[in-house]
């Protein structure tokens, strides 16, 4: 992989670059969604595409998610490779039938006779007072339902590679990008997401987690923005001699359970950081992946730093109270850190 000059890209640019490269290589790839043409996407992830590829392949749609996501399925089954945007993951309610009952099930219902090579890209995440219908993550909702692959990059390098892999996949892939990692003009961006990104085309394997930081004392598993909180928490813990291992899931479906298990077998302590709702979701799944496999590796109870089971409030103080944070990860570690006194309860 070339390490050309300073090539730090935002996730927005990385996504657009991947799509452009795939569109140049394969005329069957096209993009549709609301405001992805003229505007270049509300999140900047299709900037420049309309100019290069034109209106036939870069289609601004009416506000008709059921129709255009259903159309993407039909086009994908007929030999095209659509990349469709659902502007906010929160909007899935108006079109979820086309997603989970149609897109996700047609390969299976056809016994494998059909392919559905489409990418559904959608924005996730809050923390900027956009309210309860524009701030959700909903990772668990999409990961839970069978038949669709789900990816969620934490940085531009992975975003580009995962998008390329998703476009080339003959199965439907839901590409969930976090708004606060995106690098758009209208919202602050986590600096750690904007990273060196190779110019050439490459893929990041779907279904493979990354060890973002090696460590021996505690495993912190996360995805998206949570990975950056975890890395910052790891830095702070390092100052007191605690080395945290940070796992960036990158994919939810398939879930890289092996990497999670190997890490916890090494450290004995597990914290899951998940901006999605606490119950019935990703954090519980990661924990169960460890405990059902070999509970003896755990030296302490697993911990989750997740969004509480409440709708997301508008007011800043309330919203920040609910969101995962570096402080909460540290506090979670305190609950399970090895005891100083030999007579204490935790091992």
């Amino acid at each position: 992989m070339t390490q050309s000059k300073n090539r730090k890209l935002t996730i927005a640019r990385a996504m657009a670059e991947s799509v452009a490269q795939e569109m140049r290589a394969d005329e069957r790839v096209f993009v549709m969604g609301e405001d992805i043409g003229e505007l270049g996407g509300v999140y900047g992830n299709t900037r420049g595409l309309l100019e290069e590829f034109g209106k036939d392949r870069i289609r601004d749609t009416p506000i008709s998610e059921t129709a255009f996501i259903g159309a993407a399925v039909g086009a994908a089954q007929d030999g095209m490779r659509p990349v469709v945007e659902l502007m906010f993951v929160d909007f899935f309610g108006v079109c979820f039938d086309a997603i989970y009952n149609l897109m996700a099930k047609n390969i299976y219902f056809s016994g494998g006779a059909l392919k559905v090579p489409m990418v559904l890209m959608t924005s996730t995440g809050g923390g900027y007072s956009d309210g309860g219908q524009h701030s959700q993550c909903l990772y668990g909702t999409f990961a839970h339902l069978p038949g669709m692959k789900v990816v969620a990059p934490s940085n531009a390098h992975d975003a580009k590679g995962l998008m390329t892999a998703a476009i080339r996949d003959d199965s439907p892939v839901v590409f969930m990008y976090h708004k606060r990692l995106q690098g758009m003009g209208w919202l602050g961006t986590e600096a750690g997401a904007t990273v060196q990104t190779p110019e050439e085309s490459y893929t990041v394997e779907i279904g493979k987690a990354a060890v973002s930081r090696a460590g021996t004392d505690v495993t912190i598993v996360s995805l998206g923005l949570g990975v950056h909180h975890a890395l910052k928490a790891a830095e702070q813990l390092s100052e007191e001699g605690v080395e945290a291992e940070v796992i960036d899931l990158r994919s939810l479906v398939p879930l890289d359970r092996d990497t999670i298990r190997q890490s916890v077998a090494k450290t004995g302590r597990l914290i899951v950081v998940d901006e999605d709702y606490h119950s019935y979701g990703v954090s519980g799944e990661v924990i169960a992946s460890v405990t059902e496999h070999d509970i003896s590796v755990l030296k302490a109870s697993p911990r989750r730093v997740a969004y509480p089971d409440v709708p997301i409030p508008f007011e800043r103080g309330m919203e920040q109270f609910c969101l995962p944070s570096v402080e909460k990860i540290i506090a979670a570690y305190r609950e399970i850190q090895p005891s100083r006194s030999p007579s204490a309860a935790s091992v």
């Binding site: 069957r28 096209f30 036939d56 392949r57 289609r59 749609t61 009416p62 008709s64 998610e65 059921t66 129709a67 255009f68 996501i69 259903g70 159309a71 993407a72 399925v73 039909g74 086009a75 994908a76 089954q77 007929d78 030999g79 095209m80 659509p82 108006v94 039938d97 086309a98 009952n101 149609l102 047609n106 390969i107 299976y108 219902f109 056809s110 016994g111 494998g112 006779a113 059909l114 392919k115 559905v116 090579p117 069978p146 038949g147 692959k149 996949d169 003959d170 199965s171």
Partner: protein
């Protein structure tokens, strides 16, 4: 009226008969293992069963104009359209029986029949076939390949959001898409007048700036004519159309439906105008076919269905663990 050619008339009759024999046989086999107490879970063919008796003219009138390369999406009541589209009969029957040799190895069943060879798919969600048909039409246009896409829906589906969104989108994109509404007057037990704000859905086409037609009388020749025009328009790049066809359901909504909601005498009156004997009589009266010729067509159809049933019965069941495969491409 532009009559179908003699060849098309005989094709339509043959495929209406094939359809009806199929539904009659399935109705009998469906009841195997479900007595003395009817339990949908039991028997040779479990689950729901939605038969198309009486609606055959819609399928043949439209599909007479379609090639294998044209795309059709259909509903939970798909057999007549699948047969008219040229779906592999043996594998379709095997799929309905849930056998390993079925179109989907048993994973789909009667409501999820997929035959990529003839571009046929159906779905159990009301209106769900609209979007994919629009997308298939878009795909042909983008690839510069020929072909039209037809979405068959019931009149009940015209009140679902997917119907409206897809018609608008098809019109905005100007794609070769035709929506054919089978108006059998009943959405399970709710009559059309009780559910739909307009008596006929052809008027709704105006909302989307596309042509709309209503075809009365469950008449295969008339359906053939109107569908032909719409399909030609689409092939010529002139965009989508909406057609609603008056038809009727001789069977219940699903097998086991006691149909207490239908007014007394309604079904008896409909059996009097069963479209198959009507067409048979017309072919003879018009001098288009002899009684003997038609008898041969009918016998051939019966044998064809029996062959498919034998194939289905004799085929093995899938291995239970095959439930875990074919999730991803």
């Amino acid at each position: 009226m532009m009559q179908p050619s003699l060849e098309q008339k005989l094709w339509m009759y043959e495929y209406m008969v094939l359809s009806r024999r199929c539904e009659e046989q399935i109705a009998t086999i469906y009841m195997e293992g479900k007595s003395p107490v009817f339990n949908m879970a039991n028997g040779t063919i479990p689950g729901e069963m939605h038969l198309s008796n009486g609606q055959e003219p819609v399928a043949v009138g439209v599909c007479a104009h379609l090639e294998a390369a044209d795309v059709v999406t259909a509903t939970h009541r798909p057999h007549h359209q699948a047969i008219a589209k040229g779906v592999d009969l043996d594998r379709m029957m095997a799929e309905i029986f849930g056998k390993a040799t079925g179109l989907s190895g048993g994973r789909g069943g009667h409501m999820h029949l997929f035959d990529p060879e003839v571009n046929f798919a159906c779905s159990g969600i009301i209106g769900q076939g609209m979007g994919p048909a629009v997308g298939a039409a878009l795909s042909r246009k983008m690839q510069g390949k020929p072909g039209v896409a037809v979405a068959f829906i019931g009149e009940g589906a015209t009140n679902q959001g997917a119907f409206h969104e897809a018609l608008n989108l098809a019109a905005v994109w100007n794609v070769p898409f035709i929506c054919v509404v089978e108006d059998n007057a009943w959405g399970i037990s709710v009559a059309k007048e009780a559910s739909t704000s307009v008596p006929r859905n052809d008027v709704r086409a105006a909302s989307y700036g596309i042509p709309g037609h209503y075809v009365e009388g469950n008449d295969p020749y008339r359906i053939h004519e109107v569908a032909g025009e719409a399909i030609e328009r689409a092939r010529a790049g002139k965009g989508p159309s909406l057609i609603e066809v008056e038809t009727f359901r001789l069977a219940g909504h699903f097998m086991g439906d006691a149909e207490g909601y239908r007014p007394e005498g309604e079904k008896d009156a409909l059996f009097e105008i069963d479209p198959i004997p009507r067409m048979r009589q017309r072919l003879v009266d018009d001098g288009d076919a002899s009684d003997e010729q038609l008898r041969q067509i009918e016998e051939k159809a019966e044998q064809r269905i029996n062959k498919a049933i034998d194939f289905a019965r004799e085929s093995a069941e899938p291995r239970p663990e095959d439930a875990l495969t074919a999730v991803f491409a």
